[in-house]
């Protein structure tokens, strides 16, 4: 495909070639006629060349003017004007030439005259066709399908009329006039599509009138010029015989004239239209200001400015109530002293009282907008409009608009200010919501970090020992939880295991859990017996925990030489033990006390130590109360019995399989994926 630029160049080239051929053909015909010779070409040849020239010029401008992306009407009219200027310069040059040589013999030469006429002809066609295309764009501005069809019929009919030249005879004068009449009538109807005029502002309207008037002037001059030639000289080719040219010229004139008249009549109302446009634009600014990342103050500024402009107010101010009870005041053409005076004046009118009444009601009731304006007893201002800025049921500010005349605010003005204020409030609210959402997002990120840190507090790798295999599972209801388990090899044959649960849930619980980890790792080094371990841990934690917080824990020491487990329970749920030989499960119900409950030396007496001996195939199952207290839909707890019988039934499996099976069993039991509490399980199977 040829590019648009290529098409433009090609059409120029062909247009020039056609014009040159036309000149040559016409002159040749004339020469033959003068010398009474047979030219060897018929009259149809120049007619064809002229039509081709018109078509190429038409094609050129069609591409050029249509492709202009932005519709700027003044630019379009300016284009017409400048084309006309160039064409008239050509014509002036020709006239000047004729004037200078009017006495010489040369001017008597028909060949010379016809050559200059062809120059004029080419130039005028360029002007007419380009203007026609511009008019087309203006008429089709905001087109609908119907208009488009009507226009296309017009355009193609005119182009088809180029063919008329080939059948031209003098007897068909009535046909010529008839065609011309129909086309002009059709053009007149189309000329009432003037939507573009509404979008011109006052200044642009004046400029359009000027440019259109110049177009009419050009047209008059060009046609006059052609007439001059037509009457004065004997022409081979008279443009005035061409339906196409006359139709276009007539149409251009009609449209220009109607446009001028309509613009003239539109002048007085253009300020209203401009006002409406600016209101719409201000609305847009108010609603867009937040998206652009502006802050609230910019919204307030836009609001003040737009309100001021919308009602032509003398002065205005905007009070913004900050959360810390301070007021910020944006002023427009008013000073602090005057504001104080006007406030008093508004106070006297009872308007503030009306607003306060609504404020006490949290703005549940609709404000009566007409009651928001009042006349003032003030030397500078005659009336005021007071509009509160309300987000949900909270007043965030107050807009006061002042005019120097009394009763200065009509219903439209009040409603437009009210709309501005509403729009601004929506923007501010969106802004607040967005900020809050961002803050929440940040908190969530922080919590994720906390969750990662907490997970890292739990042991990553479990001890593998030739004496036992071990598996652990931890899942918290919130991002961070309060369950804890850990272990430490105190000697080759000795392993200390702890499991714990911090009272409460969430962040505070997880802080206490990390304290517990500190305590465990400090004390486990000393290889203490479980009772001493808890006594010291209680001592340490008594200084760390809040009054209502406590930690439950169970501490087990596995001795693989003795094949024994000795343990104490600090208020933690009793450990579950499966005895393979007897195929029996039991819970370790020895005496115990939660850490941090008794914060003195008497703690020791509440703790028992027990010791059992294990055999291969026995299982020690440690857990937190989340598992026992998990509830199903009926409010029934998972309970101790389900847990122990599950363990007994699955004793042959590896700890990992036991854990996976139990979790599935548990989730099936509660019937949802939402955890109420943290779940922890630590399973040790002796080999």
């Amino acid at each position: 495909m040829i590019s648009e630029k290529g098409l433009l160049r090609l059409s120029i080239l062909f247009a020039i070639l056609c014009w040159l051929s036309l000149v040559l053909a016409d002159l040749f015909l004339l020469f033959a006629e003068i010398n009474d010779a047979n030219a060897g070409i018929t009259k149809e040849i120049p007619q064809l060349l002229l039509s081709l020239y018109i078509i190429f010029v038409y094609f050129f401008f069609k591409i050029r003017i249509q492709k202009a992306e932005s519709i700027n009407f003044i630019d379009l009219l300016w284009h017409v004007f400048s084309t006309g200027l160039i064409v008239s310069l050509v014509q002036l040059a020709v006239s000047l030439f004729f004037y200078l040589l009017s006495d010489s013999k040369l001017m008597q030469n028909p060949l010379m005259v016809n050559f200059f006429y062809h120059l004029n002809l080419g130039a005028v066609i360029i002007f007419l066709v380009s203007t026609f295309i511009v008019w087309k764009r203006l008429i089709l501005y905001q087109k609908n399908k119907r208009l488009l069809v009507i226009w296309q019929i017009f355009e193609y009919s005119i182009l088809a009329s180029l063919l008329y030249g080939f059948f031209q005879t003098s007897s068909q004068q009535w046909l010529f006039n008839g065609l011309l009449g129909i086309f002009l009538l059709y053009g007149l109807v189309l000329s009432f599509n003037l939507k573009w005029i509404a979008y011109l502002n006052f200044k642009q309207k004046w400029r359009s009138i000027l440019l259109l008037a110049l177009v009419i002037l050009y047209l008059y001059y060009f046609i006059n010029n052609l007439f001059g030639f037509s009457t004065e000289f004997n022409l081979v080719m008279d443009l005035l015989d061409n339906v196409f040219i006359l139709t276009i010229a007539g149409f251009i004139f009609i449209y220009a004239l109607i446009s001028i008249l309509v613009i003239l009549f539109n002048l007085p109302t253009s300020s209203v239209f401009e006002q409406k446009i600016s209101e719409v634009l201000n609305f847009q600014r108010l609603s867009q200001s937040i998206q652009k990342g502006d802050n609230e103050n910019q919204v307030y500024e836009v609001l003040l400015e737009s309100s001021n402009n919308a009602v032509f107010s003398t002065s205005a101010w905007l009070e913004i109530y900050e959360e810390d009870e301070t007021h910020q005041v944006l002023k427009s053409n008013i000073n602090d002293l005057k504001i104080t005076q006007v406030r008093k004046s508004i106070q006297d009118s009872g308007l503030y009282a009306y607003l306060n009444k609504h404020k006490l009601n949290n703005f549940q009731k609709e404000l009566n907008l007409n009651k928001l304006t009042t006349n003032l007893n003030d030397p500078d201002y005659g009336s005021a409009l007071v509009m509160p800025l309300i987000i949900q049921d909270r007043q965030i500010g107050l807009l006061v608009v002042l005019k120097d005349v009394s009763d200065g605010f009509n219903k439209e003005m009040i409603s437009i200010i009210s709309s501005f204020v509403n729009q601004a409030c929506i923007s501010i609210e969106n802004f607040e919501l967005l900020t809050e959402a961002l803050r929440n997002e940040r908190y969530k990120e922080e919590l994720k970090i906390a969750s990662r840190v907490q997970k890292s507090l739990l042991p990553h790798s479990l001890i593998s020992d030739k004496e036992f295999e071990m598996h652990a599972f931890y899942e918290s209801a919130d991002e961070v939880g309060g369950d804890y388990y850990d272990f430490f090899k105190t000697a080759d044959h000795k392993t200390a295991v702890i499991i714990g649960d911090v009272s409460g849930k969430g962040t505070s619980a997880s802080f206490n859990m990390s304290q517990m980890k500190g305590v465990f790792h400090s004390l486990v080094q000393f290889d203490l017996d479980s009772k001493t371990f808890f006594t010291r841990a209680n001592h340490a934690l008594s200084h760390c925990l809040e009054k209502t917080s406590f930690i439950t824990a169970a501490y087990y020491t596995i001795d693989s030489n003795e094949k024994s487990i000795s343990f104490s329970r600090a208020g933690h749920c009793p450990g579950l033990f499966y005895n393979k030989t007897e195929n029996r499960t039991e819970y370790f119900h020895n005496k115990g006390m939660g850490l941090g409950i008794v914060r003195n030396d008497s703690f020791e007496k509440y703790i028992d130590t027990s010791k059992i001996y294990y055999n291969a195939g026995d299982i020690l199952f440690l857990y937190t109360d989340g598992i026992i207290e998990a509830k199903n839909e009926k409010g029934e707890e998972f309970g101790y019995d389900r847990l122990s019988s599950y363990l007994a039934q699955n004793n042959e499996k590896s700890p990992k399989e036991i854990q996976n099976g139990l979790i599935k069993y548990l989730y099936d039991f509660i019937g949802t994926e939402n955890l109420e509490d943290d779940y922890t399980a630590l399973i040790i199977r002796f080999l």
């Binding site: 009272s503 409460g504 209502t548 917080s549 208020g571 933690h572 749920c573 115990g592 006390m593 939660g594």
Partner: protein, 117 residues
Amino acid sequence: MINITTNIEGEDHIIMVEGDVDASSSIHLDEALTELANDDSVKYILVDGSQLNYISSAGLGVFMSYIDDFKNKSIKMVIYGLSEKVSNVFQILGLDQLMTIVSDKKEAKEKLHEVQS
């Protein structure tokens, strides 16, 4: 959900705790106990747990935090009527060793006044 009502029978203040005491509702239990702890005329407190369905660690924390307070102010407190499940929770934590927990109201009243005589 939790519902706490306080009644006075002679010199005994009876707190009736109904429903679930979890992290959020334990605040109400705390409020009720604070009120009694700050009232100098209160010497005997009975906690009726017969309608107590569930108590979380936070709820236990509330009871625990008043043990020393009551001891210092020589206020006596007895809990009675706990279901087996709830009672078990008190036992596991070891609170039964620090607080007087009995099965019914009659026994509770006897316990409350026995030491004095």
